[in-house]
Subunit: 355 residues, 2 copies
């Protein structure tokens, strides 16, 4: 397969972790006979410095022409801590998501055996947890009409969803479940909300096209409990924008390290892959940034193009690195001086010389 | 102090746990020289059986004349599992809350030293957790206008809040904080929602009247993480209806047992106190129902009338019972045959003969 990949390393540790993801993707291309063409462009604070805009036109054009976007991280204290700043790095990311029509946010949550002790939850409750959360990203109450009356004493926010908005992400969630443990849990509040009742109706209709996938339902308040009590019960979670925001952030602490968490944002034509973590400017250039979230974003990119064997090879490499504690200092209690680069090299080498 | 208390035992284990709460309140009355007058009335499935209504007029009238309502639990499989049932026990509770104008739901969450092992969270993360969650109960998206278009392809729910709705619960939360660790955390999503921005503005204004209480802010998605990572940081949490539903249910699993969780629902004129747990019909009459949630509801009742020493005496009795494992089988690994009644008797005795 030939893929044009736009690389937007961004700020802080963005470039150094993205370098490792590229390294790993190049090893996959060689090993599996694909052609991945990487073109870099600037975004975030560095783009403001260079062009005045956090998302220069050339960057947006490159992303639109590419098959996928590999994103690093953005944010710089120079803008974040300046209340007079007129443009902010984060605006680049929001505009990019909107311009590319990315309507589904995908967040995998996995409890790695080697890291069970790092979780705030008890080992026995989280062992074997492996969840993929599908959150609707462009609708619902975050984007609905906002009102404030003249006396500023009454405010409102409208939560609205259409059948079409629900259908498109539901298909993605069910297709993903088919490649996993074949179960989708819709998280809603259908006992109270009209939008949730529409979600249930539409999701049930779509589910009829995927007879091999089991569908169940959970109210969001109960889901917030179940995520702590028994996260292993979940395979694919499907939910609307705000519930997804809350539940995916809650779930993000299960694994015990934010340095491992990747995400994808997907639309009909475009897709973007990025770590959950921020630009961590204090760590920039020190070789201590954990590249695994970025490397796992690359695996999600491959999954998106149905290159599941290739994606799994990356995941095996990551697990091997965790097993042998070839990890950056945030996770390492055994070895000193394992740098960002060394972790990337280990996983690259694992792919090039699989055992 | 003289208090008229309406007692609504309800269904299942409701009557037997409520009996223990009354026993304990009577011991408090004797020891502290108060007069508590208890009058019983029926609610729930038993009221449907007797009168056809889950909230008979006589019951509502009694509640309106009383200073407080002590509520047991409602629900019966005979109605719950019958799709043709026209009246349901739960309607009695919803109507009662509405008729009494109960706009604030208060849920304490405490990690008892003796039960740390029962929590799904690691001991060291939850030890000393002691939170009181103030959830707005009659406004927001659960009660806003609901719409579904003619083709049933677009649905919406309106989240609306007024200054007055926010002010009244905010005063309750700050007054509670003054008797505790003097910190209120407002959970909202003010970076996105207009209603959250109104909450922030109004809460800041009210906070100015409570200079001894610290106020901070947390986005709801971050709060869902912090509740797992570091619940000890919270004293009083103040939040709107839906966020409160999600966060309080999430927090309810921290303590490791739902049999200990009490709640209050408070309005301008009336107040109701009840365990979180349901009617647990399978356990009815077996003497295995944990009465502690109901007994702690009685302590909340006393707090509501500023009888804090009395409330603390009950809490000390509960802690002593946990320490000595004078607990029902759900929590007991040491003694057999400690019944609902024996737990009530122990705490009654602790109050009558404090050591
Ligand atoms: Mg979030
Ligand atoms: Mg709830």
């Amino acid at each position: 397969m030939k893929l044009n990949i736009a690389v937007l390393p961004g700020d802080g540790i963005g470039p150094e972790v993205t370098d490792q993801a590229i390294k790993v993707l190049q090893a996959i291309a060689l090993e599996f006979d694909h052609t991945f063409i990487f073109k870099q462009a600037s975004v975030g604070a560095i783009a403001i410095d260079e062009t005045g805009s956090p998302l220069p036109d050339a960057t947006l054009a490159l992303c639109k022409q590419s098959d996928a976007v590999l994103f690093g991280a953005i944010g710089d204290p120079k803008y974040d801590n300046n209340p007079n700043a007129k443009v902010r790095p984060e605006q680049g990311l929001l505009k990019l998501r909107k311009e590319l029509g990315l309507f589904a946010n995908i967040r995998p949550v996995k409890a790695y055996d080697m890291l069970l002790d790092k979780s705030p939850l008890k080992k026995e409750n989280i062992k074997n947890t492996d969840i993929s959360i599908y959150r609707e990203l462009t609708g619902g109450i975050y984007f609905g009409e906002k009102k404030l009356n003249d006396t500023e004493t009454v405010a409102s926010d409208l939560c609205e969803y259409s059948q079409e908005e629900i259908e498109r992400i539901t298909h993605l969630a069910f297709k993903a479940a088919q490649t996993r443990r074949k179960k989708v849990t819709l998280v809603d509040k259908a006992n109270v909300l009209e939008t949730s009742r529409l979600w249930r109706k539409v999701v049930k209709q779509v589910a009829a096209q995927y007879s091999d996938v089991e569908l169940d339902f959970l109210f969001v308040d109960n889901a917030a409990m179940q995520m702590i009590l028994n996260p292993k019960q979940f395979d694919v979670i499907l939910t609307e924008n705000m519930f997804g925001d809350i539940i995916s952030d809650e779930a993000s602490v299960i694994g015990g390290s934010i340095g491992l968490l990747a995400s994808a944002s997907v639309g009909n034509k475009h897709a973007m892959f990025e770590p959950i973590h921020g630009s961590y400017p204090q760590a920039k250039g020190k070789g201590i940034a954990n590249p695994v979230a970025s490397i796992l974003s690359a695996a999600m990119l491959l999954d998106h193009f149905k290159l599941h064997n290739e994606a799994n090879m990356i995941r095996l490499g990551v697990e091997k690195s965790l097993q042998l504690q070839i990890t950056t200092p945030d996770l390492n209690t055994k070895h000193e001086n394992i740098t960002t680069d060394k972790v990337g090299n280990f996983i690259e080498d694992f792919i090039s010389h699989p055992k």
